[in-house]
C-alpha cells in the first residue's frame, strides 16, 4: 500500500441495505475499506453502482449505515461530496457547453473560485490528455473524449477519493489502456484513493490493490489482490499426448485425486501451493506434458462464482 494517506478506513459500511420494491440491490453490506486503489468487481446488476450511489447519497439508504472519509453519509452530504469525485457510468454532460466550461462549472459547484476553477479545469484537461477539443461543445465529443471529460470533472476539485463507474466502457483497447493508466496514477503517484467499479476482471487486476467482489447485493470477497492471487486450490490440468492411465495410477499412489476430463485432460489435485510436486512426479515418470494449466486463483474463482450466482438469479 502506498504511504500517501492514513490507514484508517476511507469507507465503512455496517449492514448497508438498499431495496427497490421487492428487489434487494444491497443486502447487509459490511465493509471497512482502507485507502488505496480499490476494485469493485461483479457482473452487471450485482449492486456495484447502487453501492457507490448510496455512499454518494444519490440513492437513499434503506437500512444500515455508512461512513465516507470518517463522516456519516446522510448527515453531512455536502461536506463529504466536497472531498469526493464521481464519474457516473452513463453520459452526464450539459449540452451547449464547451469541455473546458463544463469542467470549470463542475469545479465551481465544488466551491472553487471562478479563476481557480478555470485554471484547474485546464490543468485537469491537460492531465487527462485533452487538447484543443476542450474548446468544442461537449455534444460533439466522441465516447473517448467524453470518458476523459468525466474523469477531469471528477478530479478537478482535488478530491481525496474518486469513484469511477465503468470508466473504460465504450473505449477501444488503446483508449482503455490510456484511461486505466491515468486512473492508476491517481493513487500510485498522487495519493487519491480510487474506487473502480467494473465488470471487467482484467481492468481491475491491472490497477487495483484491494478487491471487493459483489454478487446479488452481497459481498463475496474483500481482500488484497496479492492475497487473492496467491490463494489457489492446489490443482492443475495436465495435457498429455498419451499414457494418461500411468499418470492416474501414479497419482493414486500419491493419494492425489485424479480424474480424466471429457477433453482428454487430466485434472490432478496435488494440494500444494506450487506446481513443483506435480512437475517432480512427471519428471520421475519421464512423462512429457504438453501443457500444465494451474487451477484458477481465488480472484478468478470468486469472480466466476459471482457470475454464476448472477446467472442463476436471472
Amino acid at each position: 500500500m502506498s504511504p500517501h494517506m492514513p490507514t484508517s478506513p476511507v469507507i465503512e459500511t455496517r449492514e448497508l441495505s438498499k431495496v427497490f420494491g421487492k428487489q434487494k440491490a444491497l443486502d447487509g453490506v459490511s465493509l471497512a475499506i482502507a485507502p488505496g486503489a480499490i476494485g469493485l468487481l461483479g457482473p452487471n446488476g450485482a449492486g456495484k453502482t447502487t453501492f457507490l450511489k448510496c455512499l454518494l447519497q444519490l440513492q437513499p439508504i434503506t437500512s444500515g449505515s455508512a461512513k465516507l472519509l470518517g463522516r456519516e453519509v446522510g448527515a453531512e452530504g455536502r461536506e463529504i461530496r466536497k472531498r469526493v469525485g464521481y464519474t457516473p457510468e452513463q453520459d452526464c454532460h450539459i449540452p451547449g457547453m464547451a469541455g473546458c466550461e463544463y469542467v470549470t462549472y463542475c469545479a465551481q459547484l465544488c466551491g472553487l473560485p471562478f479563476q481557480t476553477a478555470r485554471q484547474r479545469a485546464h490543468e485537469m484537461l491537460d492531465f487527462v490528455g485533452m487538447g484543443q477539443e476542450r474548446y468544442r461543445k461537449v455534444d460533439t465529443y466522441s465516447t473517448g473524449m467524453k470518458q476523459r471529460l468525466k474523469l477531469a470533472q471528477a478530479i478537478v476539485h482535488d478530491p481525496e477519493i474518486v469513484f469511477l463507474d465503468e470508466p473504460a466502457n465504450g473505449l477501444d483497447p488503446k483508449g482503455q489502456t490510456q484511461i486505466l493508466e491515468l486512473v492508476q496514477s491517481l493513487w500510485r503517484v498522487h495519493g487519491i484513493t480510487v474506487v473502480l467499479s467494473s465488470h471487467m476482471l482484467r481492468d481491475v487486476e491491472q490497477i487495483c490493490e484491494q478487491i471487493i467482489i459483489i454478487a446479488r447485493g452481497r459481498v463475496l470477497v474483500h481482500d488484497s489482490l496479492a492475497n487473492l492471487k496467491a490463494r489457489r486450490r492446489g490443482a492443475a490440468e495436465v495435457v498429455l499426448p498419451g499414457r494418461q492411465e500411468e499418470l492416474q495410477a501414479a497419482c493414486a499412489r500419491q493419494n492425489w485425486p485424479c480424474e480424466l476430463l471429457p477433453n482428454g485432460h487430466l485434472r490432478v489435485e496435488h494440494r500444494a501451493a506450487s506446481l513443483n510436486p506435480l512437475l517432480h512426479l512427471l519428471r520421475q515418470m519421464s512423462l512429457p506434458a504438453l501443457e500444465i494449466i494451474p487451477s484458477p486463483n481465488a480472484l478468478e474463482e470468486t469472480f466466476v462464482q459471482a457470475l454464476e450466482i448472477s446467472h442463476a438469479a436471472a
Partner: protein, 331 residues
C-alpha cells in the same frame, strides 16, 4: 503534445460558501438562456421599451411645467393643448397625488401588463434551459455528486428564472420609473410616484416568484425541449382563449389561466379602477375626459375578489412543486 507540465497538481485553497455555489448554478442557467439565438436582442428590446416609457414619462412631466419647452411646443401646436397644459400645471400644485401619483400608477399597470406578455413569451423560449436539458442529459447526477444538494440546485434554477424575469420585466419597469422621475422637472415627482414603485415591486416580485415556480414545474415535466416549450405556450395561449369565453359561461374556468390570475393580482395591487374614479371625481376636466371610457371597461379595471386567483395559483404552485419533487432526482 502539450508544451507545459501536464502532471496532476493538488489544490490547497479555501472553498467558497454555499451561496456562491448556488449563484454559480443560477449564473450558468442565465448564460444558457441568453445564448439562445436572438434572446439577448429581445432582452435589449425590453430595456428599450423601458427607455421609451421613461421618455414618455419625461414628456408628460414636462407638460406639468408652464415654461417648459414641451409646454411651449404644445401651445404652438394647439390652443386646446395649451389650456390642458395650463390645467395640468395647476393640478400638479393642487392634486399632485393624482396628476403624478395616480397617473404613474395607472401608466405602470398598463406598461407592466404589456411587458409581462413579452416576458412570459421569452420565458417560454428559455424554459428548456431551466431543468429540461439537465434531465435530458442526466446532468442531475453531476449536480448531486458535487458539493450541492437537490435543494441548492433547485434554488439556483429558481434564481435563473427569477433573474431572467428581472432582466426582461422588473429591470426595465424600474428603470422607466427611475429615469422618468429623474428627468421630471421637480424632485417631488419621486415622492408622489412612490406608490407606483411600491406597487411595481409588490406585484412584480410576487408575480415573478409565481412565474418562476410555474416555469420550473413545466421545465421539469419533460425531457424534450420542444415538449416543455409547447406545454408552456399551450397553457398560456389556451388560458388567454378561455378567459373571454368563460366570462359568460363558467367564470371560474378563467382561473385556469395563470396570466388571468396574475392580472387580477395586478388590478388589486395597482387599484387602477379606484385611481380613475378618484381622478374623475377630484378633477372636473379629467372627469369629462375620462367619461368617454365605457362602463364595461371600467368594470374590468375594478378591484376583483382575489380569493379565486390566489386559490388557483396556490393549486398551480402545488402541482409545479409536486412535478419538481417527482422528476428532479439523480435517477
Amino acid at each position: 503534445m502539450p508544451l507545459h507540465d501536464t502532471a496532476y497538481k493538488h489544490w490547497q485553497g479555501a472553498h467558497l460558501g454555499l451561496w456562491q455555489r448556488r449563484w454559480a448554478i443560477a449564473k450558468n442557467g442565465l448564460t444558457a438562456c441568453l445564448r439562445i439565438r436572438w434572446m439577448a436582442n429581445m432582452v435589449v428590446l425590453c430595456w428599450g421599451a423601458g427607455l421609451a416609457a421613461a421618455i414618455l414619462l419625461f414628456l408628460v412631466g414636462q407638460l406639468l411645467v408652464a415654461d417648459s419647452m414641451v409646454a411651449g411646443w404644445t401651445s404652438k401646436l394647439s390652443p386646446v393643448l395649451q389650456t390642458f397644459a395650463t390645467l395640468l400645471t395647476g393640478w400638479l400644485q393642487d392634486h399632485p397625488e393624482i396628476s403624478v401619483g395616480a397617473l404613474q400608477n395607472v401608466f405602470f399597470y398598463f406598461f407592466g401588463r404589456e411587458l409581462m406578455i413579452v416576458s412570459i413569451f421569452l420565458l417560454g423560449i428559455a424554459i428548456p434551459c431551466l431543468i429540461t436539458r439537465d434531465l435530458a442529459c442526466n446532468a442531475i447526477v453531476v449536480y448531486s455528486s458535487k458539493a450541492v444538494s437537490r435543494g441548492d440546485y433547485l434554488l439556483g434554477r429558481f434564481a435563473t428564472a427569477f433573474g431572467f424575469l428581472a432582466l426582461t420585466w422588473l429591470g426595465p419597469v424600474c428603470m422607466a420609473w427611475f429615469l422618468g422621475n429623474l428627468l421630471a422637472p421637480n424632485w417631488m415627482f419621486f415622492w408622489h410616484a412612490r406608490l407606483a414603485l411600491e406597487n411595481i415591486l409588490v406585484y412584480g416580485l410576487s408575480s415573478m416568484v409565481i412565474l418562476s415556480m410555474l416555469a420550473l414545474g413545466v421545465s421539469a415535466s419533460g425531457i424534450k425541449e420542444k415538449y416543455t416549450t409547447a406545454f408552456w405556450f399551450t397553457w398560456w395561449i389556451l388560458g388567454a382563449v378561455i378567459v373571454p369565453i368563460a366570462l359568460h359561461t363558467k367564470p371560474w374556468l378563467r382561473h385556469l389561466s395563470f396570466s388571468f390570475n396574475l392580472n387580477e393580482i395586478a388590478l388589486a395591487t395597482f387599484r387602477v379602477g379606484d385611481n380613475i374614479k378618484t381622478a374623475q371625481e377630484s378633477i372636473p376636466v379629467l372627469g369629462t375626459m375620462l367619461s368617454g371610457i365605457r362602463p364595461g371597461t371600467l368594470a374590468t379595471l375594478a378591484i376583483p375578489n382575489l380569493a379565486g386567483a390566489w386559490l388557483a395559483l396556490a393549486a398551480m404552485l402545488a402541482l409545479a412543486a409536486w412535478i419538481i419533487h417527482k422528476r428532479v432526482k439523480p435517477e
